[in-house]
Amino acid sequence: MKGEPLTILLVEDNLDHAELVIRNMEDFQVANTIIHVEDGEAALDYLHGRGKYADRQQFPLPHLMLLDLRLPKVDGLEVLKKVKTDEVLRPLPVVILTTSEAERDMAMAYEYHANSYVTKPVIFEEFSKLLRDLGFYWLAWNKRPW
């Protein structure tokens, strides 16, 4: 762990789920900042530093994106596609964190080069463990692109 601040972008329309993720992440202190947006449009705006997210000091590029698939306005898969076709954003690790266990969703996600695909466990303990492991893996073990 380097001393630099690590940022996670959480794209989740379900506020309860977002709260659960944030709480667990905070408990394990895997990241300095968790930024939560509720739809795909906001996620893209953030990543591109558009609109209210123009200030990169306040809203730096995240080191990990947790992306739900079913999102209002712009769908999660669409966000993923945009990220992975963007020359700058492409290296950003994108972990699909979704309720959907549909094989089609998983297949599409990998098709668009998702870095990982996990479904939200119903059991709370597992949910916690998953988020801890995700955080440690992608932010500690994994060599970050930036």
Binding site: N14, L15, L20, T99
Partner: protein, 691 residues
């Protein structure tokens, strides 16, 4: 079929052959049978003739031998010899004469001789019985010397007497001297009248016959001499003589010594059968003859019978054959007529089939036949089609690509091709078809047969089914997703609560509990809405004319609470036309649209809702218009999708608009949204088809 035709054509020849064979068989059988019969008959006649001849010859022989025996006995009677010597003595002795006369009388009476004489060795009659007879005939006297010399009893053959010119035989008995055995002193001549025994014997025929006759002949120089009276020629005895050169004459053959059965022509120039035999020890030949005509009469009769029988049989065979042939022809005609009728019916059925049926040339690919179904759909007449080729009506193919496509059929690699393509009608419009293509070789001709189904309707149904399946998939997906979400929330926050409880972090617990409760409520709402959605299309109430104004007013009355809470002002256009629809469902549509408007009033100070109607090209378009947040054009489609929400914070399950869409679609209408963008309000429009 072909074999049948050939055998049918051959049939008359077979019949004729059979008839010919039969006729030949019948004729041969008749001929052989007749030949047999003829031979048998002839044998019978021959044996009859032979028997008669044998019998008569036997009798003649016996008669002669008897005569000679008698003569021989007489010639040895010594008393007679003595008397004759004494009689011939120089001195006549009346006693001797008397005694001699007595002997002669005795002989004459005992043996029925016609005439007895006592001759001296010169042939002079010395005594005769009856008395006073003229001198013996020359024929007799000529033989005296011979008898004297041979001292043998001799019979003088048939001769004519000089005196009465009648035919007689005479037996000459030499009388020897009782003193000198070797000296003949006189001759006793016993005349035999053939009429008494011989002629009747010869004439007599033991069976009933009209032409049969026995003749006795002898050779005389180069002639044959007939010795008895003939049946058909008077005064023939010893008069009729015919040259031996006449070789066909049975009598001549007999005279030449021939014996047995012969065929010939008799003295009357009549063809005859004859049996010849020589009487032993004589120059006589017996001829028993019978006219061929008589023999053949029954044969002829038989022949005619046979011919009649054979003819009848042949006619019968012919008639039978003709009948069989006719029957066969009739069967053939009937079958052909049946085939023709069947062909006609088949053609008619194929012609009237609603499936499109095409026949086209294997090589030119030109149409040969198109049935009514094909012509009706294409809009071409048969004449027009017959000038077209297959690839003229299938725009997806060129001639080359079509020929390539049908190669497997031509090479026999495949028996049938099934493919989908597009047909182009005469007016240029296309329709989708499914084609079953087959190459049929019938006899020496080969044609393509295409049975074509117009699958436009099917394709449309398939597309609809596809859409429905896709929708169903989406539904299942979203249901599983959206139902699982609250569960995760509930489980997550109950876990968090436990943790907080352990840590004594009580401040968060109330909030966590509310989250759990809300999630449970959400699940409840979801289930209710899903149930509602699932009933659409199944539970449909009978449509009825519904006043739109009354319906909208009812809905607004129900929503009075939320409307008042949001300070909403609702305006309803008056005089809306009635709609023929399911009243309850239509109320749901209006309610959902108004509720949707209430949810998205946004920051508007004076939120307003307008329910109205406009007409566009004859279609009534109802709308619910608000001045709320509005919707970006990008989301105009997805908002009607199940569980789709633009704002995750807004209340509701995301089913409302999907429900509206389903109800309107069931009513045959359309629903859409019109909005100039965010903050500019939105207008949800729908139509209802005039059911």
């Amino acid at each position: 079929m072909i074999n049948d035709d050939r055998s049918e054509r051959r049939f008359p020849y077979i019949m004729a052959g059979v008839f010919l064979a039969l006729a030949i068989g019948i004729i041969t059988a008749g001929y052989v049978s007749f030949q047999n019969y003829q031979q048998r008959f002839r044998k019978e006649v021959e044996s009859q003739l032979s028997a008669i001849v044998e019998l008569k010859v036997g009798e003649l022989d016996r008669w002669r031998k008897d005569r000679l025996e008698h003569g021989s006995i007489i010639s040895r009677v010594e008393t007679l010899s003595f008397l004759v010597r004494r009689f011939f003595a120089d001195v006549p002795d009346p006693e001797i004469r008397r005694q001699l006369h007595g002997w002669l009388v005795n002989y004459s009476e005992s043996f029925h001789y016609d005439q007895l004489r006592l001759l001296d060795v010169n042939g002079t009659t010395l005594m005769s019985l009856p008395e006073g007879r003229p001198p013996a005939s020359v024929a007799v006297r000529k033989r005296i010397a011979e008898v004297v010399k041979s001292k043998q009893v001799t019979i003088v053959d048939f001769y004519r007497a000089d005196s009465d010119k009648r035919v007689y035989l005479t037996m000459l008995i030499p009388i020897r001297s009782n003193l000198d055995e070797n000296r003949v002193i006189g001759i006793i001549a016993m005349r035999i009248d053939p009429e008494k025994y011989l002629y009747p014997l010869i004439r007599q025929w033991p069976t009933a016959s009209t032409t049969a006759e026995t003749l006795l002949v002898r050779r005389e120089g180069d002639d044959v001499l007939f010795l008895n009276e003939l049946k058909y020629e008077k005064n023939s005895a010893l008069n009729l003589r015919i040259s031996l050169n006449n070789t066909t004459l049975p009598a001549a053959m007999a005279a030449l010594g021939k014996e047995g059965i012969v065929e010939g022509v008799d003295y009357r120039d009549e063809p005859v059968f004859a049996c010849l035999k020589t009487v032993p020890g004589t120059s006589w030949h017996l001829v028993a003859r019978i006219d061929k005509a008589e023999i053949y009469a029954p044969l002829k009769e038989r022949l005619w019978l046979m011919i009649a029988g054979v003819t009848l049989l042949i006619i019968l065979a012919g008639v039978t054959m003709t009948l069989v042939w006719r029957q066969q022809r009739l069967a053939v005609y009937r079958r052909q007529a049946g085939i023709e009728r069947e062909k006609g019916r088949l053609h008619d059925i194929i012609k009237r089939s609603l499936n499109e049926i095409y026949l086209f040339n294997r090589d030119t690919l030109q149409f040969i036949f198109v049935n009514d179904g094909g012509m009706a759909n294409l809009g071409y007449s048969m004449n027009e089609l017959q000038r077209l080729t297959v690839f003229d009506i299938i725009p997806e193919f060129t001639e080359e690509s079509f020929r390539t496509a049908i190669t497997p059929l031509l090479t026999g690699k495949q028996e049938r091709l099934v493919f989908e393509t597009i047909h182009r009608r005469k007016d240029g419009t296309p329709y989708q078809v499914e084609v079953y293509l087959q190459l049929i070789e019938s006899g020496d001709a080969a044609v393509f047969l295409a049975i074509v189904n117009d699958i436009t309707v099917r394709k449309q149904s398939e597309k609809e089914l596809h859409n429905k399946n896709a929708e169903l998939e989406r539904f299942a997906y979203t249901v599983s997703h959206d139902l699982k979400s609250p569960i995760i929330t509930i489980k997550g926050f109950t876990g968090a609560l436990e943790k907080d409880l352990l840590k004594g972090n009580y401040e968060r617990m109330a909030g966590d509990l509310r989250r759990v409760s809300n999630a449970a409520d959400k699940m409840n709402d979801l289930l209710r809405d899903l149930l509602e959605l699932s009933t659409i299309g199944h539970v449909v109430n009978a449509p009825e004319p519904v006043s739109m104004n009354i319906l909208v007013d009812d809905v607004l009355a129900q929503l009075a609470g939320p409307l008042n809470n949001n300070n909403l002002n609702v305006v309803v256009q008056s005089g809306l036309p009635s709609v023929f629809c399911d009243r309850r469902r239509m109320a749901e549509v209006v309610q959902n649209l108004v509720e949707n408007a209430i949810k998205h009033t946004g920051e508007q100070a004076v939120p307003q809702i307008l329910f109205g109607m406009r007409e566009e090209s004859g279609v009534n378009i109802y709308f619910v218009q608000d001045n709320g947040t509005g919707i970006d054009e990008r989301y105009h489609k997805i908002i009607f999708g199940l569980f789709n929400k633009l704002d995750s914070k807004s209340s509701g399950t995301g089913i409302g608009l999907a429900l509206v869409k389903r109800i309107i679609e069931v009513h045959g209408g359309q629903v859409w949204v019109e909005s100039e963008g965010v903050g500019k309000g939105s207008r949800f429009c729908f139509t209802v088809s005039k059911m």
